[in-house]
């Protein structure tokens, strides 16, 4: 009896993954727990170990394909052993009472049950289901405006209307005969040339290429797509407002001068990021509303302070690992986690659950010299703090001009949750914490 290799559920909210590379070919032998396939999810890349020892009999999901968690990726068994029919096998996935044999690994989830209702789409009314079928509508593309975001009949009709208009535009274009395109001067060209060209055009029907300017289309990586989705979603969801304050980093600077060598001795690189995170914790404790999420039921104020920190990846893109319960860590503890997460983020070693559950995010855009920015909120959080470059600037202190290490703090908040006053109160607490850092 062959063993199946199943697309695992790699995290709480990770429901699909892309097969990026098979590390074995069909017919090759493999040991249990030996890396078999590389999977890329929207959050991380990971290797999946083999669920059994034997021969890789059949690969069902080719490289580059994205499938749902629970999908059978491959079969492992004895050479020559026949594998169950694919459809049958899939059906079996939906009947958990059937032979609970070779579940590949204990953490593998059961296949997604078909409940007849797509939990991402919400309640689908009879008329919506009928229209979708008749008009061949992919409901995941229709924005729901009904109760709890359900897709109403009107939403589908509006979508169809838009689709019709788009189609019309596309269809109408080629109706202009090429030789009548103004400015081409075709009307005044010898007929042979005109017809020769029109025949040529007919052979290859005009494709709707974008402007034929020289250039290159970069394929969209899974991460690029997810970043795009998240950014658009966030901007569409939350009314963003950014408020900026500056902080005198003198005391932090002094503290770090003293503490850095001690920390290094313990193997910890004490970065400014740790100080910012610590100051954010102070701010969030003072204004818990900044550590919240907007929901239809109400504003959910989170008890835990889980801080995300944006890390730019060497390969492009970015990832936001989360420091859970940041309020329970000391400065050194935060620094240690920052070191660890940043390093593993850059080398692609993060676990899926390490990029989830954040309640607030820090982004340090100052590394390349940016003074201040207007960061985009990491949904469903309500706030993100951007830190600019720390640079020495002349400032007025006690009516004298002094040179101080200064930083701009840009706080973008969801105006549904916070108002200017509460947002500024939060930011002021962050500034106060940084400027009044106790000396080591």
């Amino acid at each position: 009896m062959p063993t199946k290799v199943i697309m695992p559920k790699l995290g709480e909210s990770v429901v699909e993954g892309t097969v990026t590379a098979w590390l074995k070919e069909e017919g090759e032998t493999i040991e249990e727990y030996e890396p078999l396939v590389e999977i890329n999810t929207d959050k991380v890349d990971t290797e999946i170990p083999s669920s059994a020892s034997g021969t890789l009999l059949k690969i069902l999901v080719p490289e580059g394909e994205t499938v749902e968690a629970g999908t059978i990726l491959a079969w492992i068994g004895e050479p020559g052993e026949s594998i169950p029919d694919e459809d049958q096998a899939r059906e079996k996935e939906h009947e958990p009472q059937e032979e609970p044999v070779e579940e590949p690994a204990p953490e593998q989830p059961e296949a997604k049950q078909d409940s007849g209702r797509d939990k991402d789409l919400g309640y689908i009314s009879p008329v919506v289901s009928r229209l979708a079928q008749e008009e061949d509508v992919d409901l995941s593309k229709v924005k729901g405006t009904g109760m709890d975001g359900r897709i109403t009949k009107k939403d589908v009709l509006n979508y169809l209307e838009e689709r019709k208009e788009e189609k019309k535009e596309v269809e109408e274009e080629p109706e202009i005969p090429i030789w009548e395109t103004p400015a081409d001067g075709d009307l005044f060209r010898p007929t042979e040339l005109v017809f020769a060209q029109s025949e040529k055009e007919q052979e290859a029907p005009p494709e709707h290429k974008p402007l034929a300017e020289p250039g290159e289309t970069l394929p969209l990586t899974s991460m690029r797509k997810r970043i795009a989705e998240h950014m658009v979603h966030s901007k569409q969801t939350a009314p963003h407002v950014t408020t900026v304050m500056e902080a005198d980093m003198s005391r932090v600077f002094a503290h770090r001068q003293v503490s850095q060598p001690k920390a290094e001795a313990r193997g910890v690189h004490l970065t400014y990021t740790a100080y910012f995170l610590s100051a954010i914790v102070t701010g969030l404790k003072a204004v818990p509303l900044a550590n919240a999420s907007w929901t239809d039921e109400g504003i959910r104020v989170h008890k835990a302070i889980n801080l995300g920190m944006a890390v730019a990846l060497p390969s492009g893109g970015l990832i936001v690992p989360v420091i859970e319960r940041a309020d329970e860590s000391s400065l050194t503890g935060l620094a240690r986690q920052v070191n660890d997460l940043a390093e593993r983020a850059r080398s692609g070693q993060l676990k899926p659950d390490e990029v989830q559950g954040g309640t607030f995010t820090l982004t340090n855009h100052g590394t390349k010299g940016s003074l201040f920015a207007t960061p985009v909120i990491n949904q469903p959080q309500s706030g993100i703090l951007g830190t600019g470059i720390i640079q020495k600037r002349p400032v007025v202190v006690n009516d004298a001009i002094a040179i101080r290490p200064m930083v701009y703090l840009s706080f973008t908040f969801d105006h549904r949750v916070l108002d200017g006053a509460s947002a500024d109160t939060f930011l002021a607490h962050v500034v106060h914490a940084l400027e009044n850092w106790p000396l080591a």
Binding site: S125, P126, V127, S129, R130, G146, K153
Partner: protein, 328 residues
């Protein structure tokens, strides 16, 4: 065109039918000399005499029984039950005799009779002067059940009822007798066929199905919510049996949401029939569950004024139900 109230339209219909056909006569409590407790038969006694406008004893069984006998004899009786609440003594005559006559005689005998009865509460009438009884009779094949909501329809439908060869239950929303006014042609003869419902207000967002007083209120509620941007279609059922399924389903096809309103209490009320019709033949057009707004399941309309208000469906309650359904 003249603007008259509902009860005057009913009086005119009877007057015109009595003038047109000498077989038409009226029988009921205080319909003669007194002109009816709601003044529906005012002037008829003087015009047509005591043989065609008959004051009956206080016995509904007799009123209907006499009507059936006369109808079998070729007359066209209009029986008035003073309040629908009092119709139960005549229930056996109506359901077991009048409704079944054509069927059991294999078409040899007809009962071309109209039973008029004012129904409904909201007039301080208490337990015995406020009842809605339409659901009992809409359950009985062999009867036709008609409930007008305005003077024009009332006159046209009552004239059709008088001319119909079958027994017709004609329930009149008594609260609207003087409250509901409307234009009715003065010199022009017209009738309105029993059966067809009427779309009285066109809309896109949801359909409200109602009849009688509740239809009047539904129109008011539709106006209120129109200011909030909710575009309501209102359908006046007019005839409960046989009901106009096509108009109902057509409206649901258009709006995909249905609210049914009646004053009678909810359980076993007539709204269940409309809801079932939509569920059975209009399911794939629905964008929301079918909703019913009806009187509460208590034994009667209470006499105490605040309690009566609690019982009665009114324009505000209808508007709230519309808002809920529109938001779904």
């Amino acid at each position: 065109m003249a603007e008259i109230n509902l009860v005057e339209a009913i009086r005119q219909a009877m007057d015109e039918e009595m003038e047109r056909d000498e077989n038409v006569f009226v029988i009921g409590e205080d319909v003669g000399v007194r002109g009816g407790v709601f003044r529906a038969t005012v002037g008829l006694f003087d015009k047509y005499g005591e043989e065609r406008v008959i004051d009956s004893p206080l016995a509904e069984l007799t009123i209907v029984g006499v009507g059936i006998g006369a109808a079998l004899y070729g007359k066209r009786p209009i029986c008035e039950i003073q309040f629908a609440d009092f119709i139960y003594p005549a229930f056996n005559q109506i359901v077991s005799e009048a409704a079944k006559m054509v069927y059991r005689s294999d078409g040899a005998w007809f009962v071309p009779m109209v039973i008029r009865a004012p129904y409904g509460g909201g007039i301080g009438g208490g337990l015995y002067h406020s009842q809605s009884v339409e659901a009992f009779f809409a359950h009985v094949p062999g009867l036709k059940v008609v409930i007008p909501s305005n003077p024009y329809d009332a006159k046209g439908l009552l004239k059709s009822a008088v001319r119909d060869p079958n027994p017709v239950m004609f329930f009149e929303p008594k609260k609207g007798y003087r409250l509901i006014k409307g234009e009715v042609p003065e010199d022009e003869e017209y009738t309105i066929p029993i059966g067809p419902a009427k779309v009285t207000r066109e809309g896109r967002d949801l359909s409200v199905f109602a009849y009688g007083m509740m239809h009047h209120y539904a129109l008011q509620a539709a106006e209120t919510v129109a200011e909030e941007g909710i575009d309501v279609e209102v359908v006046d059922l007019r005839t409960l049996y046989p009901v106009d399924r096509e108009t109902i389903l057509e409206s649901v096809r258009k709006t995909s949401k249905a609210l049914i309103v009646h004053e009678d209490n909810l359980t076993g009320g007539y709204g269940g029939e409309i809801a079932a019709t939509i569920a059975e033949w209009g399911f794939m057009d629905l964008d929301a569950p079918v909703r019913r707004l009806a009187g509460p399941d208590v034994p009667a309309v209470p006499f105490s004024h605040p309690m009566q208000e609690w019982f009665m469906v009114n324009p505000d309650k209808i508007a709230d139900a519309i808002r809920d359904l529109a938001a779904f």
